[in-house]
């Protein structure tokens, strides 16, 4: 899939009247917008534009953005996250009881074999945010996000948590893209997480972390994708003697049980 390169952020999507919450620190303006799910008409527009049916809970107006007074900006919005979903059906998953379901169906309804509008209905995305066009580019780096600095109990000046989209996959699990941000006096951390559990099939976590050091203008973006078969994770949890269904609901509980399948580390300095 193409990298999440330079696209004019959200010009193709009408912005809501609500400007959201924001805070400005050292020339960086951090904004979050949290609104209800979309109505029928905007859903229809988005469906046409995306070319796929959006998830059931579609918070199309929600976003997180980090904008610098120099013109640099990085935004996470719902449309662009969904635009990265495979729309061809090439990487389509099937629910656990699909084979059983289809084998009985084939005998009875030979006429109905068409899968309607195939696409990746797990809404798996490798979205890492949308850059403003006049931004300097990220460059590959080996400098990690300074976790020790982030572990310090600095006062949190601004905190928010928003969902871009969520779908119950017709009660076969959950898929969700959510963002969490905390702004401290000297730095900020943004965690955008795609989490997907297809019951009895597979689990995925794809985290994008954005770190900004206000003093130096350094921005680090880390992307880590993890994936494991459901059964493997279930067995690991069971061997720990834990309540498996409850554990599987929270990505934090299983994060360390999924092996890394893809990662990248990028950095830029704003002057």
């Amino acid at each position: 899939m193409a990298d999440n390169g330079r696209i004019e952020p959200s010009s193709h999507y009408p912005s809501a009247a609500d400007a959201g919450n924001s805070i400005t620190q050292h020339g960086f303006k951090i904004t979050t917008r949290k609104l209800p799910i979309l109505k029928a008409e905007p859903i229809e527009q988005m469906t046409k534009r995306l070319g796929i049916a959006p998830p059931e809970m579609i918070f199309g107006d929600n976003l997180v953005s980090i904008d610098h007074e120099s013109g640099w900006g990085l935004q996470f919005n719902t449309y662009d996250a969904l635009d990265q979903v495979d729309k061809t059906g090439g990487s389509m998953l099937q629910v656990a009881h699909s084979r059983e379901w289809q084998s009985t169906r084939e005998k009875k309804h030979e006429g109905i074999t068409e899968v309607v509008k195939p696409f990746d209905w797990s809404y798996s995305t490798d979205y890492k945010g949308t850059l403003r066009s006049q931004s300097p580019l990220f460059e590959i780096t080996t400098t990690p996000i300074p976790l020790e600095l982030l572990k310090r109990p600095d006062p949190i000046l601004f905190f928010d948590e928003i969902i871009l989209y969520e779908d119950e996959m017709a009660d076969n699990g959950i898929t969700m893209y959510s963002c969490k941000i905390r702004v401290m006096p000297a730095r900020l951390l943004l965690l955008c997480r795609f989490f997907m559990r297809l019951d009895n099939v597979v689990l995925r976590i794809r985290d994008t972390r954005v770190y900004v050091d206000f003093g130096t203008g350094e921005v680090i973006r880390e992307y880590v994708a993890k994936e494991e078969k459901y059964e493997v994770v279930r067995q690991k949890l069971a061997s720990r003697g834990q309540d498996v269904p409850a554990q599987l609901r929270d990505p934090n509980n299983i994060n360390d049980l999924l092996p890394i399948v893809d990662k990248s580390l990028e950095r830029l300095v704003i002057r």
Partner: protein, 415 residues
């Protein structure tokens, strides 16, 4: 005050009732439900409700907006449990009301009224947490197996009676030409759509329909005529199911023949009725998920025509506006869980269908019978005139301080 009335008042206060009493009520409910047909016949007037999902305080708001049982005749289209924090209280209250007023409340099965689904999506955990054992969950699941699969609403009116709740005000007569009325939770009319010149707005949850769609002459014997002015007329029969249609079911009678007293199967007609979704496709389609059906406008129009139905009401899918009419108003989705999962910000709706009094209260019993329409189906047939529909739209109840997620997220030092 009987034990049952006591249980009802406890549950109304969102308190759980003792386990032996749950067992007794479930037993009584089963005895009632076993006598019901797979497709329950319900006479208008009736208020049709969609998914509740354990949002107890919003269910109380629904009763406030729609009227209390037994004053209002209710039909709930399933998905009482899971997701919300009060599945137990919500389902047990509805069940107690069913036992107390069996003719004033109808409960049909949703896909969440199943052992397998409730173990994953919250109801099982909630029973375990609130009672310390899975007994109550088991009693409830036994009731699930006896819930009807659908309901057929007969004796509807094509016109709307004035809203009942606002008795203090002078009753403003509703024009006979009004097909759809939308009211808010303060009993104020927010929109009206006349039958003769239907200009429907998508933002109101109504799918667009060409303006000037004429009301059609109904098949003889149904009471529907092309004369839209003047007196009351029948609004036709309305089939209610949780999910939708099945390629294995071409008549309401075929639903009547199913053996429903079992866990929801993974496939087959019973599964489809609880799981399938309408979609803008030509005929039938497979869901991209690899299981489940999608059905298009022609399927619905053909089914309605062959079964002499004016409308299918279903639930199962979240809609921001609380309801969504599709396919030239041949099918409607009703959603009754406002601010779903305490975070979606959507409104909820209930659908009121009035009673046709033009025939001295005599209902055409043959409605919904298979093969009733002698004439061959013509695909270009205009949809027959539907019942007068009042949608009451309501918002989530004020958030309960106990156990509800805080609106403002709590800051934490995540990494």
């Amino acid at each position: 005050m009987s034990d049952l009335d006591k249980a009802i008042s406890e549950l109304r206060a969102c308190k759980i009732i003792p386990e032996p009493q749950v067992r007794e009520i479930c037993h009584k409910a089963r005895e009632l439900l076993i006598e019901e047909a797979n497709v329950v016949q319900v006479d208008a007037p009736v208020t049709i409700c969609g998914d509740i999902h354990g949002q107890f305080h919003d269910l109380m708001e629904l009763f406030r907006v729609g009227g209390d049982v037994p004053d209002t005749n209710y039909l709930f289209m399933g998905d009482f449990v899971d997701r919300g924090f009060y599945s137990l209280e919500s389902f047990l209250l509805l069940l107690c009301l069913k036992v107390r007023y069996p003719d004033r409340i109808t409960l049909i099965r949703g896909n969440h009224e199943s052992r397998q689904i409730t173990t994953v999506y919250g109801f099982y955990d909630e029973c375990l947490r609130k009672y310390g054992s899975a007994n109550v969950w088991r009693y409830c699941c036994e009731v699930f197996d006896y819930l009807a699969l659908g309901a057929l609403v007969l004796g509807t009116s094509s016109t709307l009676e004035p809203s009942f709740t606002d008795k203090s005000q002078a009753i403003e007569p509703v024009d006979d030409d009004v097909e759809i009325e939308i009211m808010n939770s303060r009993n104020e009319v927010t929109a009206r759509f006349p039958r003769s010149r239907r200009r429907l707005f998508e933002s109101d949850g109504l799918n667009s329909s060409p303006p000037g769609t004429p009301s059609k002459t109904g098949p003889s014997g149904t009471g529907a005529t092309s004369d839209s002015g003047g007196s009351h007329h029948s609004g036709g029969a309305v089939l209610c199911v949780h999910g939708g249609l099945s390629p294995l079911i071409d008549s309401v009678d075929k639903i009547r023949l199913l053996d429903r007293k079992q866990e929801v199967p993974h496939e087959g007609a019973m599964c489809d009725l609880l799981w399938s979704d309408p979609d803008e496709i030509d005929s039938w389609g497979l869901s991209p998920r690899g299981a489940g059906f999608l059905f298009g406008p022609e399927i619905v129009k053909r089914f309605n025509h062959l079964n002499d139905l004016s409308l299918i009401a279903r639930a199962h899918q979240l809609v921001m506006e609380g309801f969504k009419e599709m396919f030239d108003s041949s099918i409607v989705t009703v959603w009754s869980a406002p601010n779903y999962c305490y975070r979606c910000g959507n409104v909820a709706a209930i659908l009121e269908l009035g009673e046709d009094t033009s025939n001295g209260g005599v209902i055409a019993r043959s409605n919904g019978d298979a093969g009733r329409s002698a004439q061959a189906f013509m695909p270009n047939l205009a949809p027959r005139s539907g019942p007068g529909r009042r949608y009451r739209v309501f918002e989530a109840a004020p958030q309960d301080p106990r156990g509800m997620p805080a609106k403002k997220p709590v800051a934490d030092y995540f990494l």
